[in-house]
């Protein structure tokens, strides 16, 4: 699924739009607050859905090459998250929906 379809499918706002946003594809969705699980994942073209609002989310996302992160449950985005999303050129969305609602609306991608 093209990343640009996400705002059409769920109510969310852009925190950071990556430079290749319009052409980026995501094929796997990972719903977790455990960064250890993200690091253990073998999947590629990943969309990470999490309610963990910390720098480590973006750092972990960069390490495994996550294309986009959706921060759920209306969690406040700390400024350093935005800075890191820009630095790593990762698309970052924020939504008031829960992780389960996001996953349901996005389907299996």
């Amino acid at each position: 699924m093209k990343l640009k379809k996400i705002p059409e499918l769920i109510e969310c706002r852009f925190v950071n739009q990556s430079t290749k946003y319009s052409e980026t594809e995501v094929r796997n969705i990972l719903l977790t607050n455990l960064m250890s699980q993200v690091l253990f994942s073998e999947e590629e073209e990943l969309l990470l859905v999490t309610s963990l609002a910390s720098e480590q989310v973006l750092r972990t996302a960069d390490i495994v090459g996550v294309q986009a992160v959706i921060l759920t449950d209306n969690k406040p985005v700390i400024p350093s998250m935005l800075e890191l999303a820009k630095e790593f050129d990762i698309c970052l969305f924020s939504t008031k929906l829960s992780g389960a609602q996001v996953k349901e609306k996005l389907g299996s991608l």
Binding site: N33, L34, M35, S36, Q37, L39, F40, L52, S54, E55, Q56, V57, R59, T60, D62, I63, V64, G65, F88
Partner: protein
Amino acid sequence: MIDIPINTEKAPSLISELVLKLKVRDVMNKGVITATKNTTLRTIQRLMKEKRITGVPITATEKLLGVISMDDIVKALDCGYIEEKAEKHMTTDLIVLEDDMPLSFAISYFDKFKFGRFPVVDKRRNLVGMVTRGDIISNLLVEVTKEVDELEKKIEKPETKEVNLKHNEYKIAKYDFANAGKPSNEIKRILKEAGLDPKLLRRIAITSYELEMNIVVHTLGGSLIVNLNDDYIEIMAKDPGPGIADVEKALQEGFSTADDWIRSLGFGAGMGLPNVKRVSDEFEIKSKIGQGTTVRSRIYLRSQGGKNENK
């Protein structure tokens, strides 16, 4: 007629310096189309049309005698003397610029006399060029762009201490979650810029990050040591304690001694060391209570995405 949009008194210092530094010869048009005093106004009119110019200097062996302007041609057509020679109708009361005058002087002349062009002469009063407002503006733009480029080069770049991954040691502090991950993100960036295969890159980055987080979460602090050569990258995590009581258990997925606080930060799920072992071509761990732990991971650069089966 376009104005030169420069107030030489109030212009920014860069422009002020440029208009003083540049000479008229730097902006003038050197390939001047001229005619002689015996050339007819009709010929000059055709010349103007063909060359798309609005004034033709009349010269004799390079000496400037006068100028025939578009106005002179219009008047000649109106009054019926278009076939007459230039000598009789050219403007001889000329205001000229010298080629070594500063550009600021030329700009003040354009403002003062409202002419569209000025002939440019050298010290011997020979015609060497023509200058228009357009010449000044376009040349100034080129010069400003050059100056800006030079200034940008001079601006001190933020200090980027480039890391040499052939051998580098990162100090990692206990519970320093604010900085945790920075070395690994840096290692990944450097290797990515070096054009490493993305799958290989991911394995190296995971190894580095997991070992780094292990030091942050489970030790008193330690070092992440990176050694890179043409064949492999070796990442070693060293700490002085407290050491792992049961190494075999620590390598089982899901076994962890991390508390709830660490887990609330997204770590401590007991997957770190097994994950490093999983992505490494060679993996070694030595630990002793009270003496600390050393974990060594080696990834061969020819192994590409998958693990190197020969190792």
